[in-house]
Amino acid sequence: MTVAQQPEALNFECETGNYHTFCPISCVAWLYQKIEDSFFLVIGTKTCGYFLQNAMGVMIFAEPRYAMAELEEGDISAQLSDYEELKRLCEQIKRDRNPSVIVWIGTCTTEIIKMDLEGLAPKLESDIGIPIVVARANGLDYAFTQGEDTVLAAMANRCPEKAPVSETDKNERNAIQKLLNFGKKKEEVAQDESEYVDHKPLVLFGSLPDPVVTQLTLELKRQGIKVSGWLPAKRFTELPVIEEGYYVAGVNPFLSRTATTLMRRRKCKLIGAPFPIGPDGTRAWIEKICSVLGITPQGLDEREAQIWEGLEEYVKLIRGKSVFFMGDNLLEVSLARFLVRCGMTVQEIGIPYMDKRYQAAELALLEKTCHEMGSPLPTIVEKPDNYNQVQRIYELKPDLVITGMAHANPLEARGINTKWSVEFTFAQIHGFTNARDVLELVTRPLRRNNNLKDLGWDKLVRTEAKI
């Protein structure tokens, strides 16, 4: 291979889109846990159900607040009335679980037979008295984490428009505030308010586990920034107030529809920042929010340096090593940027979908990081082709491939280290606090193989089908 001229700017390519990822309906698995009073009804076929049942493993046995509305031949050929059928099922859900919201997840099948879920929902909503939110999280249009994006975009339209007047209501509405005010009297709360700088309300969007919500909220509090609300909140009934002119910021790179909805429909101002993944990302995220709100950040240098110090034992394992992202969850650019900062070389960033506007700040940071670290700028491959990627992996021999489970075992059997990409979606990876967890994941295969390296067992397939 000849040494290519180092490219000046990021190179974007687009392949055939024949890649493996999870179906976007998988978002129900984490969203039903996040939104405690919700019920997710996936309107689809056995195929959808089989995927959910197998992908979610043990969770299915915990009496989840999600179910399939399984379409039968009569539904497909329109012998049955969609409205009557959905009404029957939703009444049953109301009777058994009494949720505060039912989220309908539209699938490929409802798209193809053109079932008018958005049209049916308002009528049924008034008939049964439970809000019905419609999200079309189907595999025709979206990949994996984009499912959450479609749900949150639909939820954004349900956020109240005006702050309630009475103080008690406010406390009821705002879970984070309640958490921060835990057990304090009213005067103390008033005193707490003085800890914040006076700024325009800020609402964050993106579903994160509660501990991470607390961590990021505290991180901004250190800068005197108050988080007025979070989309989604712990309960549907606690969705944040969003008034015209509020600031919003995303915490995950796959939320472009939600961002668009907040800007266009709710007239919010989007703070376009890199995402708080890795200490570098977290710092850039906070700095950008501070700068938009007119605040001078305090002590971020020390804070970031201190975190990096704690990470050194992991960083030294991966410094100088190469990594290849096959691409399946849209976290790839942020993770790649963090790993470049750790001293890794990124050979390829596969990604299902690249919104260059929503991810602009993240892409700029990636480019800057590569320049600063003297690392070649990676190619970003949108809609990758897994077969071609595997050929490139054979050629490039990366030290680590971040990939889906379909390819992980076969690559391992060929002596290539892999990390299962889906773990990054379920692990806590945001903020300063969790930078260690990201590296714990990234280094695990390398640490494992250090333990086994003297055994001579790295290639475990008999014949390589080389034709």
Partner: protein, 508 residues
């Protein structure tokens, strides 16, 4: 529409993919949207496959929806043909392509003009068949295709093999303990002096299928997979088939006697009675077990059985006939083949349950309160909730049901494995019961354990609340590490901030 949380048998295309990827050098192309290739994950994870699963997708997206697949499917087939040179490419429809009603037949015919390998369209309707039925149909379709192809070219071999021989039909990828059963069946055939002519679909090449007529008979170990193929071969070549599952001592003997009858009818002169006797009394421990004191203690204990037809029927007979256990009800989720199940088990249980509603199964278990359950992973979880032990005997299954150790369910070694499975389920239940009567294990409190036992540290309310959000199984460790961190730095109270500072510093 049907409200569903759980299904026992998967969608049709899973069955087709199981057959296609069981064969060597056969590639399946799904006509499906992004994300429907979850089969690859299952095969790679559950059976820990070292090779890439030979399944790719011809992606159905918005463009396809608007304009049809046009050249896409054909291009994908010819591309795969050039890349991997498979003997056969099976175009696999999914629920999505079923309703798009594209002319997939036409795509296959066009691709066949260019492709070097064979191309076929799996003939399964998503809305009519489930995974098991689709697998049975696809296997039949592939066998028929290659028999007819060989016949057209005059390549069908004449006559039978010299020595008695068998085609074993039905072991497939992701089948419950199929690889172990397969080894055990080959061993049994060798002991009986019967050559294995072909073994399909697992590990077979499609080019070997034309050899199938040379076998003296076909053995169908699993009720769900292979029957259509066996019936086809009987029609075409008069090859008799045996569909007695050799699972359990009595059924294994019955299967062997049937083999004896079938090969003797074709001129062999074999007598397996001595072999059956020797195996039953001295090789398999199951017969001796049923005589032993251990098994006596199980007499009349209540059990319930649920699974696919093959395993649920065999288990019911073993429990009732070979161990004297009281099977209160036995059930299957193979509703499409319910009559067969009823006929098999009716005399061995009080009640027969035919359903694929896991809620109804759960209720039926709770109502009966058996001492042990034999079912799928779903029943295992019901058992956990009700504190009843469960032995897993059928799919749907998890990765722990793909053991590395040798654990067949069939043949004589299979009888030993099943005996362990049954006995361990019951004794564990017994142990629990005794523990309860005598007030559990040692009940003394642990007096001191490390630093967190005599904590001089205060957890603030918010710190404590945050700690409680951490999953139970790591909470103790996080608590200890946080307190160590706080003590070292002289914090008197542990707040949320301190908790996370500790995490940042030591990874607590």
């Amino acid at each position: 529409m049907k409200l569903a949380y759980w299904m026992y048998a998967g969608p049709a295309h899973i069955g087709t993919l199981r057959i296609a990827s069981s064969f060597k050098n056969v590639h399946a192309i799904m006509h499906a949207p992004i994300g429907d290739d979850y089969f690859n994950v299952m095969r790679s994870m559950l059976s820990r496959e070292r090779n890439f699963t030979p399944v790719t997708t011809s992606v159905v997206d918005r463009n396809v929806l608007a304009r049809g697949s046009q050249e896409k499917v054909v291009d994908n087939i010819t591309r795969k043909d050039a890349e991997e040179h498979p003997d056969l490419i099976v175009l696999t429809p999914t629920c999505t392509s079923s309703i798009l009603q594209e002319d997939l037949h036409n795509f296959v015919e066009r691709a066949q003009l260019e492709a070097k390998g064979d191309v076929m369209l799996a003939d399964v309707n998503h809305y009519r068949y489930n995974e098991l039925q689709a697998a049975d149909r696809t296997l039949h379709q592939i066998v028929q295709y290659y028999i007819e192809k060989a016949r057209k070219r005059g390549e069908l071999p004449e006559g039978k093999t010299e020595k008695p021989s068998v085609n074993i039909i039905g072991t497939s990828t992701l089948g419950f303990h199929n690889n172990h059963d397969c080894t055990e069946l080959k061993r049994l055939m060798a002991d009986l002096g019967i050559e294995v002519n072909t073994l399909i679909p697992e590990g077979a090449s499609v080019n070997d299928l034309k050899k199938m007529p040379k076998a003296w008979f076909n053995l169908i170990p699993y009720r769900e997979l292979g029957l259509a193929t066996a019936q086809y071969l009987q029609e075409q070549f008069g090859t008799p088939y045996i569909d007695i599952t050799p699972m359990g001592v009595v059924e294994t003997a019955r299967c062997i006697r049937k083999i004896q009858q079938v090969v003797n009818a074709q001129g062999a002169e074999v007598d397996y009675e001595e072999f059956i006797n020797e195996q039953t009394l001295h090789v398999s421990q199951a017969a001796w077990f049923s005589r032993s004191i251990d098994c006596q203690n199980l007499t009349g204990k209540k059990a319930v059985v649920f699974g696919d037809n093959t395993h649920a029927a065999a288990m019911t007979k073993i429990l009732a006939r070979e161990m004297g256990i009281h099977v209160v009800w036995a059930g299957t989720y193979c509703k499409y083949d319910a009559d067969w199940f009823r006929e098999q088990v009716s005399e061995y249980c009080d009640e027969v349950l035919i359903t694929d509603d896991h809620g109804a199964i759960g209720d039926a278990i709770a109502r009966v309160e058996p001492s042990a359950i034999f079912g799928t992973q779903m029943e295992r979880h019901v058992g956990k909730r009700l504190d009843i032990p469960c032995g897993v005997i059928a799919a749907p299954i998890h990765v722990q049901n793909f053991p590395i150790g040798y654990k067949p369910f069939m043949g004589y070694e299979g009888t030993n494995q099943i005996t362990d499975l049954i006995y361990n389920s019951f004794t564990l239940g017994m142990e629990d019961h005794l523990l309860e009567i005598f007030g559990g294990h040692d009940t003394k409190e642990v007096i001191s354990r490390g630093i967190s036992a005599d904590s001089d540290l205060n957890w603030s309310k918010d710190g404590q609340a945050e700690l409680n959000k951490i999953p139970g199984f790591v909470r103790g460790k996080v608590k200890r590490n946080t307190e160590k961190f706080a003590r070292e730095r002289g914090f008197k109270e542990i707040t949320t901030e301190v908790l996370y500072a500790a995490k940042e510093s030591v990874g607590a």
